[in-house]
């Protein structure tokens, strides 16, 4: 009996090490030699930016990531996408599970302490989504006494309350799609987050014609490419690739395809981005 227990334990341990070995195989990879895999972190739930539909990935983040990967010498079949929820982005990069992250990842100083950024590849801004026939919400100041929705853990709704409309009521859900659902039922008056994300939801076929983005941004969100802290080599390469993408017109094409249909207008002074942050 005892022998059996020991054998069972041994098998368990072997199985566990086998699993970690598999984990190593899908490691983010370093070189650009053929056959190497590049693991890229994206969001799976943001239409127009990073969306997983079946086994297909669509969106602006995905297209930029594919272009950059190609410029870095990876074949399309060797690019693997992995979900990177907001709270896990720093640790996914830190322990090497993903090589780079394209996931509406705004460049901020506190984040720079943990990760390095290439880019920005898009400059968005916080905006409001309202029902298409709504005429009285023209900007964040008009939200006093209204009901505003955002996701738990995001600071965008709190910012509206602190800076623009003191008597706004905040509803928080775990996903934006629940906010959009509540907006369509009339329980809340507006949804707030980056204009790119809002435009993506407004352009979904199920929501077509129901909502509009107000179009008055009140913050600047510079979407960067998240990299492991201190990876200046990759950072420089990514910046070169991004520059090429913008210069060749591919950036504009990707934008028109993914977000242009939503009628999203980005600040032309900063988009497409022509200068990139120095790699440090």
């Amino acid at each position: 009996m005892r022998q059996r227990i020991i054998a069972a334990l041994g098998i368990t341990v072997l199985a566990a090490t086998g699993l970690t070995a598999c984990g190593d195989e899908t490691d983010a990879g370093g070189g650009t030699a053929g056959g190497d895999k590049l693991v890229v972190g994206i969001k799976y739930d943001q239409p127009g930016l990073g969306l997983k539909e079946g086994s297909n990935y669509t969106g602006m983040d995905v297209d930029v990531a594919k272009y950059v990967a190609k410029e870095l010498g990876y074949e399309e079949g060797n690019v693997e996408f992995k979900e990177s929820p907001s709270a896990q982005r720093e640790s996914l990069l830190g322990n090497g599970q993903v090589k780079m992250i394209f996931a509406t990842y705004s460049i901020t100083d506190t984040r720079k302490e943990k990760v390095s950024f290439a880019g920005p590849y898009l400059v968005a801004g916080q905006d409001l989504l309202v029902k298409a026939d709504n005429g009285d919400i023209t900007g964040p100041e008009a939200l006093n006494g209204k009901k505003l929705c955002s996701v738990t853990g995001s600071t965008s709704a709190q910012k509206v309350k602190d800076q623009f409309a003191k008597t706004v009521q905040l509803q928080e859900y775990d996903t934006y799609s629940k906010c959009v659902e509540a907006l369509s039922s009339g329980a809340i008056d507006a949804v707030t987050t980056d204009n790119t994300i809002l435009a993506g939801f407004a352009a979904q076929s199920a929501n077509e014609g129901k909502f509009k983005v107000v179009g008055k941004t009140f913050s600047t969100e510079r979407y960067g490419v998240g990299l492991k802290k201190g990876d200046t080599e990759t950072c420089t390469k990514v910046n070169d690739a991004l520059k090429k993408m913008v210069d060749s017109g591919e950036w504009q094409k990707a934008f028109d395809k993914n977000l242009g249909t939503a009628g999203l207008k980005l600040d032309p002074a900063t988009n497409p981005p022509k200068t990139f942050d120095a790699c440090a």
Partner: protein, 229 residues
């Protein structure tokens, strides 16, 4: 460790844990009420009531809590328009979400409370109920004066488990926007990714402080209150 002072000053971490405590206590009371009724139904001599009781327990216990809570908001509130707070008050969203969360948590945990109490009923020897019937007490009075008082004393330990689970499960309320502890934790993690483990540690410690004394209390109560046989 400026993140610890931020926890108190900027993010109102104490207020968040206060919400967690309110959620837990209110839901626990309501769950105890519903759960007792369901447990009585499950041991009653009427077959319809018995099957209703077991249907409730089996359906609710096997539904994920997140689903129950989200249904309270998206289903009851958004689709069916059931408001638990005055829609014109300046805090209607917060009040409504809090009450919907209490409703969802208590309906869910009532199933576990019912099973805990039923296990307590099973600790009462059959002879007790037979003796009660022999002196002419009807079913409800048998329960009220003989079986349930002993059953609750036998069910203290499993009820304590349910209360601890409820304390931790109250974090699910954040999916419909109740600003309890885990919601504030998500905000802090978003803003301070550089100290993510410290943030996590603070909240884990908070929950240990809430649940550990409950566990100790219920263990000692269960020993003290157990019916010596």
């Amino acid at each position: 460790m400026d993140v610890i002072s931020e926890f108190f000053s900027e993010y109102d971490g104490l207020g968040a844990f206060k919400t967690t405590i309110y959620l837990t206590l209110l839901s626990a009371l309501l769950a105890l009420l519903i759960g007792t009724v369901v447990a009585v139904m499950r041991v009653s001599p009427v077959r319809v009531l018995r099957s209703m009781g077991s249907a409730y327990v089996n359906i609710v216990r096997n539904t994920p809590l997140t689903l129950v809570i989200v249904f309270c908001n998206l289903g009851l509130f958004l689709q069916l328009g059931i408001q638990l707070a005055d829609p014109n008050s300046p805090t209607s969203i917060d009040d409504n979400n809090f009450r919907l969360a209490v409703l969802g948590l208590s309906v869910y945990h009532a199933a576990f409370v019912a099973e805990a109490i039923r296990s307590g009923v099973n600790t009462v020897p059959l002879g007790q109920a037979e003796a009660a019937r022999a002196i002419g007490l009807p079913f409800l009075k048998t329960l009220r004066y003989v079986v349930l008082p002993q059953a609750f004393r036998g069910a203290v330990a499993p009820l304590g488990n349910v209360l601890i689970a409820l304390t931790k499960n109250s974090t699910v309320a954040s999916v419909i926007g109740v600003t309890e502890a885990s919601a504030v934790m998500k905000v802090m993690m978003e803003n301070r990714p550089d100290v993510i483990f410290v943030v996590f540690g603070i909240f884990a410690l908070g929950f240990v402080i809430l649940t550990l004394p409950v566990g100790i209390l219920f263990t000692s109560l269960s020993k003290r209150l157990a019916v010596k046989r």
